[in-house]
Symmetry: D2
Subunit: 342 residues, 4 copies
């Protein structure tokens, strides 16, 4: 593993604008709002009412309903894109062409072809480009990667990842993206990262018990060119009573060892009048009014890269494309009923 994460004192304040103010765009804003060395400088959404609401909440002066205007604003260094996935391609390309540094939420785009267009723009761009595969900043995940790279578990032979959510969350998101693409993208990325392998084939099945546009859950089984089997489970149909904020876990079995990551039971369980809950303590926990956790660490990393003029190496655009290609092929398999080969 060649890269290192160094955090040297940043010389300048990074001015960050966020495009897209759905629930996660707002969490972007909330997290950025009190990070030292970062100024939450601008917000953008097509919905004026929502724009005002979020911008007022965080006292952001620059407010745009047309993202082109934000891109034209010279007082912005970084553009964070947290829109609907279908808008990723166009906005990312425009942002890259504007010369800004671009932080794009995952998945990069709906298809590998879309990703290729973004990649082409990124190669010619003056600014940096990174897709927000947040789990790479998770110590549990990163330490697993280290152990794998050190050879502690030998050669990987089987991996399973689960990332299941309450149907309450599912209903709020399933008109934008399927569960398999929406959350499977995390684990597809991690499995390729862990194994250093490429997919040979993938087969998938999805379920669609809900009334939203996209399937509520799916399973994908990939064969990697290393010989490993990689299985991804993403079901956004847990009961409302589920104590899990997210039931996310991964099992990596190698010829010499096994690693178990549990991101669902994150050290805090509450039983009270409202039932049982295991709140998020890792991703973007809200503690004493601020957002902490690995989303913050991810923003910190990108801001430091920008401040230091150092290209982000922890996640490369090619890797982000590979994860999309894997999951898009899984969705294709689910539709056709056939095994898809790469």
């Amino acid at each position: 593993m060649a890269f290192t994460v160094s955090f040297m004192a940043n010389q300048k304040t990074i001015r960050w604008g966020v495009i897209g103010l759905g629930w996660f765009g707002e969490i972007h804003a909330e997290t950025l709002a009190d990070m030292p060395g970062i100024e939450l400088a601008a917000l953008c959404t097509r919905r004026p009412q929502r724009l005002m609401e979020v911008a007022d909440r965080f006292g952001v002066p620059k407010r745009y309903t047309d993202y082109h205007e934000l891109l034209a604003d010279p007082a912005i260094d970084v553009v964070g894109i947290a829109t609907h996935i279908n808008d990723h391609r166009q906005i990312a390309i425009d942002a890259l062409r504007s010369g800004k540094h671009v932080f794009l939420e995952k998945p990069m785009a709906p298809t590998a072809a879309d990703c290729d267009e973004i990649l082409a723009a990124a190669r010619q761009a003056a600014g940096f480009f990174m897709v927000g595969h947040i789990c790479r900043f998770d110590p549990r995940v990163a330490m697993a990667k280290q152990a794998i790279d050190e050879g502690r578990i030998g050669k990987i032979v089987s991996m399973h990842a689960r990332r299941n959510l309450s149907k309450t969350i599912g209903r709020a998101v399933l008109d934008s993206i399927s569960a398999l693409m929406g959350d499977g993208i995390h684990d597809g990325d991690l499995m390729l990262w862990f194994s250093g392998a490429k997919p040979v084939s993938v087969y998938a099945q999805e379920i669609h018990p809900g009334a939203n546009k996209f399937p509520d859950g799916g399973w994908a089984m990939a064969r990697l060119d290393s010989g490993a089997i990689a299985v991804i489970e993403s079901i956004w149909h847990l009961p409302e009573s589920t104590p899990y904020q997210i039931d996310a876990r991964m099992e990596v079995i190698g010829t010499e060892g096994a690693i178990y990551i549990n991101c669902g039971e994150a050290g805090l369980e509450m039983h009270d009048g409202s039932g049982n809950r295991m709140p998020d303590t890792f991703y973007w926990p809200q503690v004493f009014g601020s957002r902490f956790g690995i989303l913050r660490a991810e923003f910190r990393y990108f801001a430091d890269c920008v401040a230091e003029g150092r290209r982000p190496e922890l996640i490369t655009p090619d890797e982000s494309r590979a994860a999309v290609a894997l999951l898009a092929a899984a969705v294709e398999s689910s539709h056709s009923g056939q095994v898809v080969y790469f």
Copy 2:
């Protein structure tokens, strides 16, 4: 659910003979040896040395190296078959034709065609016939089945079962049977039982990092005619240091609820000079010199059926055949790389 488990006082002692004295045949013998109302009356294996060793251990007077002789012995009521799976078909048919009651270890046979031959013999047999799907006697599993039948989790949409073992165990067994067939048969059976559905298609992948004859692990993904996805994981390649006796768990997600069964972390964990272990406390735990647990409960059930002249309804031969058909198709898919349809 129509059946009930009733335990009325048995009128007679059931005389039980065990054919096959591998590691599990010996556990059969050990369990039967001190069950009230059951007499461990005969043992049979082709290996004379092994026969003497086990028969001496439990003080069993009748000892056979030819199973036909055991079948001809009128002083035996029940024949338990714990041989290599490839011998199941012939021995089971012979045993059924002999008029004995037959308890056959799982899987019923290597193929559905073999099962059909056994089924034909069973239909004409005077004695009872049951395949030992032990997990059905597990309170954790049986209570899940009850909750499902009561409609507590609605309609099942996704199931996942894991049943992973140390490679130490794998090496001892993988010349007889693959991991996918050997342990997947448990979960295939349970998933069909839970859902009351039939498989429409199955796709599978296997890994073969070890030097034994059969693959060390496999994953199967079935689509059921109820619309549910059923995923089976069976990897007999956990590191020697694994604390798990067996890492067995199942997740059943329905439209109204979810059930999580964990048979791997069974309430006892020991950290000592020999490392960390989570001993079996459920299947056939050895406590103060005797074998308890659900293997014993399973034998109890079959013996009571015999004593009372009541046909076993908890597991039917057709159900056992269906589980073989599912797993055999999975193995076929693993070999061909194609989805197999039913």
Copy 3:
């Protein structure tokens, strides 16, 4: 450890009468009702309506409102006593004098002095006498005891046991007995059994947030003559939403190893419209209409002892007295605020 549990074929049916039909007396009856070799022959409670209700449920012909009449009935072999703890002493003594075999629920009696009177009667009795310390029949516990006796964890230095219940259960029971005495008796017994030691001193505190007669929870810290610290926690005040049927666990730390017993998370978790639950799968789980688990195993053991004319050695009356003495001293400490010495 000298004793063994042998289960030889019992020659006769054991006729069992139950005195006391509270919630647990009824579970006694339900469990005994379908055990082979045992006949649930008689029931007794002072409440005629309750007597009819339970006796009708299980089809028990002999019904008594005066326990002396049950004791005088020559067609009863075993008397099980599941009454209020305050009635234990007199009924147990009368039962022992009647010549019956006596199975007495824990705790033996409220005080060590009461226990001594029972012990005196037991010494002169024709029948056997055993107090139902059910946890000794728990494979998780028994296997821990075996490992300790084998020296696997060296010399015990610290033990902690928790046995916490929902306040819903607490409210139903706390007019009869305190949490510390009611559930601490289990763990006090196990700790003395595990360590083979005697208490030197004990200090305790109780809490009484509820409106019932006895304190809802308590903590006791004992010093044993082996040098070990033994800490008992028993809180019957978990929220109504608790998923635990019982949050019961024990940690035993020795000079060479540690053992962790978890009886709270027993392998089954259900999330549905009624919330989250972890049902009992071990103590007396109700599966397909019958009661299984270690309560059944405990009755089996006592019935076999009676059938074979073999004095029960797994739990001795002196041990049961020692557990009462420990917990009664803890309650005394809680009242006085002083350390109590033995």
Copy 4:
């Protein structure tokens, strides 16, 4: 709860010197070495060889063997003290008098009287003063505190905290401090913080199976003026094979709910050739060459307070003294065998 954690852009680089370079002092240095806005400016230990070793590792130019010289250096803003607890009082007082901002490791000092002297110095000091009760920066803990302050679990009635370590760690530390004082200080602080109560009495027992100067483990039971029972367990005698980095958990039971914090099973488990481990992913995990986690968050907080001229409110010196008073009384009780009243 009145305080907030705000992270405004810091105007200046904070120059930090560390006194004491045991294993934890080195982790201080390692963590500070790559924090933006902080300069690890000086190191101090009496051992010249150790000084050179650690200072070389992190490229620290200013190196002192006499802490008075470090205190006299005008190019240092913050002094971090990570020495032996017995040296805390004198160094902290000298540091406070020097005008530096002082970050002192926990426990504040061995006795409440020592704490009072430090408090007196702190009250007259120009710089800020904070004791490093790191757990307050743990999201799992902080979110529990929030829930308690929101009234979600009602009034606390019982608390238990465990913080157990391998005897390997114990042997390395037990000549400096006892387990009960060394780790119990964390939980004593948290319990007083959670409950907002004061101790009325405390009783404790310790065990001393090891060969080091201080007892290897201890239990303390306090009664708080709110009526709650608070029980602290700290055993540094787990077997070498323990998978726990630290087996740390806390249970808080209130009249309306319960909170369970598990800091021992922190989401990552590795089984490999070296056995089983659950590495630290929270406190100061080493990821890709840097130290992350809540130690870093704690330093960040103090540095920001200094940069902004804002007195630290998250942990007050009076609170740190109260935790010492509780644990020192527990140790006194352990020695005398008597209950100690406040």
